[in-house]
């Protein structure tokens, strides 16, 4: 095989032949189809051999996972909203509630995952090159290279990456790189009973999502696509979402920070201060004796 590392010191140090790049692959997660069954969470843990996170009841909702982490690469958010009665009259979610309900509760679910950003801060700042963009245009942590510096953890504006307490390396969704290499869809998408998670070439998914959001808006006028398009300095996401409430309801930032934005200016300030103080020092220290 062309991409195999050859044995021997010098041969091994040569760059591997990159696998040919194919279509960018990603996820489209439609929160309006999600029923909160957590099959994706379980399938992900099972396929990737991830340990359980313990029995910590949050008391917040049926969501006892709370966040994505080094050991949770799919996470179903539960957002329960108590809506005023008047608003409920038009809400399809509350249609089943009787008139005696002063307020009714609507439940929003969303299956959160690594966004596989096309301008991924974690990949940009990784000092070892462990974080790469693979041939499926997905962001992948090479476990044999990662040295656990924690930079990606602080850089990710979505709080996706975590550093494991067990092996001290950074972990996150691989978009089932191993399954993709074998030509099968990721475990979460495979397990999703309502097809809320769709896996495929990102271009096709975007097309599909744009059609879907028009349809959903007939009943839920607030529906929108999160991450389908470029948003200024933060570029589009390869794993994007259809949502109906503001991003904060799903614990997502509305306009994520691009950590590397302004980096050159930050270096410049540092250089200006350093060179300036050096010149002053040279002038002062070089003074002739009075």
């Amino acid at each position: 095989m062309a991409h195999e590392v050859k044995p021997g010191i010098w041969e091994g140090m040569k760059l591997m032949d990159a696998r040919p790049k194919g279509d960018a692959m990603g996820f489209f997660t439609d929160s309006t189809l999600c029923i909160g069954c957590k099959a994706c969470e379980v399938a992900c843990k099972q396929w990737n051999g991830l340990p359980a996170d313990g029995m910590d009841w949050t008391g917040r909702s049926y969501d006892n996972t709370s966040t994505l982490s080094a050991t949770t690469w799919r996470h179903v958010t539960f957002t329960e909203i108590a809506r005023p009665q008047a608003e409920n009259a038009q809400s399809p979610t509350a249609a089943g509630y009787g008139a005696d309900n002063a307020q009714a509760v609507s439940w929003l679910f969303n299956s959160d995952v690594c966004k596989h950003c096309t301008s991924a801060p974690c990949q940009i700042v990784c000092p070892t090159g462990a974080l790469i963009r693979n041939e499926f245009d997905d962001v992948y942590v090479q476990q044999d290279v990662c040295n656990g510096c924690g930079y990606c953890v602080a850089a990710c504006p979505f709080g996706v990456l975590g550093r494991s307490e067990v092996d001290h390396k950074a972990h996150k969704c691989t978009l089932c790189y191993d399954r993709q290499l074998d030509g099968i869809e990721p475990a979460c998408a495979k397990a999703c009973p309502t097809d809320a998670i769709t896996f495929g070439p990102v271009e096709e998914l975007r097309e599909m999502a744009r059609n879907r959001v028009v349809k959903v808006r007939e009943k839920q006028p607030n529906a929108y696509l999160y991450g389908e398009s470029d948003a200024g300095e933060y570029k589009r996401l390869n794993a994007f979402f259809l949502l109906t409430e503001e991003p904060a309801a799903y614990n997502l930032p509305e306009a994520p920070t691009m950590p590397t934005a302004g980096m050159k200016r930050k270096y410049l300030w540092s250089a200006v201060v350093g060179v300036g103080l050096s010149l002053v020092s040279a002038a002062v220290l070089g003074q002739k004796a009075k």
């Binding site: 309801a249 270096y267 002053v280």
Partner: protein, 343 residues
């Protein structure tokens, strides 16, 4: 997991169990960002790395501009730079999840990653500072001049070449730490453009202070030199003060974390130390008198101020990360970042 547990009183106000009137409250106790893994060790590394870098620059400049006049001062600065360099690699490496893989950062050169740039800066500065000290120690009449082989090998590294490598490496080491923190999503670290400049000036100030203190203790500083160092200390202190004010002013709403809790105390201490040091240095520079005690006190205050500043900024980053609403506010749609949201 304490932060994830709902407060009991919420239940009283909300008869709908876990439901919220405002959808954004559903995850109000879950931070959007993950806590940085960088803590005390990194703050200590920033501090010692800063001194080492600052002292290297001061020493090199003294050697270049003063020639024989500043020879002793320049030599003291070299030793200070080398000694304060020693704790840096252990502190940095121990902070890695896998310390044995430190060298993975040196298998690539990746300018877009400040940490990669920093590991190269530490390596070049470390090598140059070590070579300088070795050259000094093995020169005529010094402790190690009788050593076999080594002096011969060191002759292949001319002093000017070592200095040429050392100055840019040291400058980068002094300032990159601020850029490193600035290149994250943590609001109080990211928002301002000035953190790199602030850490650079602090590196310079603490390097100068450590050199001055060591020179006072060993008696390697003349009266005229002491006056020059005091003037430089005052200038570095004023620069640092101005940059600190600028950093706070340009940090947006997240600046509140610099004044709250442990960071607030550390920052108050840093400001007090910086003011004390600068006032003493300025007074002795203006008076033109060399007072060993006053000079040493100013140096100690400047060093303490530099340490407290690094800790305050690192701790503020943790508080800023834990502040969910603050993070969401920093990630509101803004110029150049319209974001994604509903109608």
């Amino acid at each position: 997991m304490d932060q994830l547990t709902h407060k009991k009183q919420d239940r009283k106000h909300n008869p709908f169990g876990a439901a919220h009137l405002n959808a954004r409250d559903a995850y109000r106790d879950v931070p959007v960002l993950k806590q940085p893994t960088w803590n005390n060790e990194v703050a200590a590394y920033f501090f010692f790395g800063g001194i080492s870098a600052g002292a290297a620059v001061v020493g090199a400049l003294a050697g270049l501009t003063g020639g024989a006049k500043h020879k002793r001062l320049s030599r003291v600065a070299e030793y200070v730079s080398f000694v304060t360099l020693l704790p840096c690699p252990p502190l940095l490496i121990d902070d890695l999840g896998l310390p044995g893989r430190f060298h993975h950062m040196l298998r690539v050169f990746k300018p877009q990653s400040p940490m990669n740039v920093g590991s190269w800066a530490l390596t070049t500065h470390g090598a140059a500072a070590t070579l300088k000290v070795l050259k000094t120690l093995t020169s005529e009449g010094q402790a190690l001049s009788k050593l076999p082989v080594v002096p011969g090998v060191l002759r292949y590294f001319p002093a000017r070449l070592v200095a040429a490598v050392n100055i840019p490496g040291a400058m980068l080491l002094g300032g990159y730490t601020g850029v490193l923190l600035g290149t994250t999503s943590v609001p109080v670290w990211h928002e301002s453009q000035l953190l790199g400049g602030l850490f650079m000036s602090s590196a310079f100030g603490t390097g100068l202070a450590a050199t001055s203190l060591a020179a006072e203790l060993t008696g390697d500083v003349g009266d005229e030199e002491a006056g020059q160092l005091a003037a430089l200390g005052a200038i570095a202190g004023i620069t640092e003060g101005a940059l600190l004010v600028g950093y706070v002013a340009t940090s947006g709403e997240s600046r509140k974390h610099l004044f709250k809790g442990i960071s607030g105390k550390l920052m108050a201490g840093a400001a007090a130390c910086l003011l004390t040091a600068t006032a003493i240095e300025a007074a002795s520079a203006l008076a033109g008198k060399h007072n060993k005690g006053a000079s040493s006190l100013a140096s100690v205050a400047a060093l303490a101020g530099g340490a407290l500043l690094r800790w305050a900024v690192v701790k503020a980053g943790h508080a800023s990360t834990a502040d969910r609403e603050g993070t969401l506010a920093a990630m509101r749609p803004r110029d150049g970042s319209p974001g994604w949201r509903g109608a």
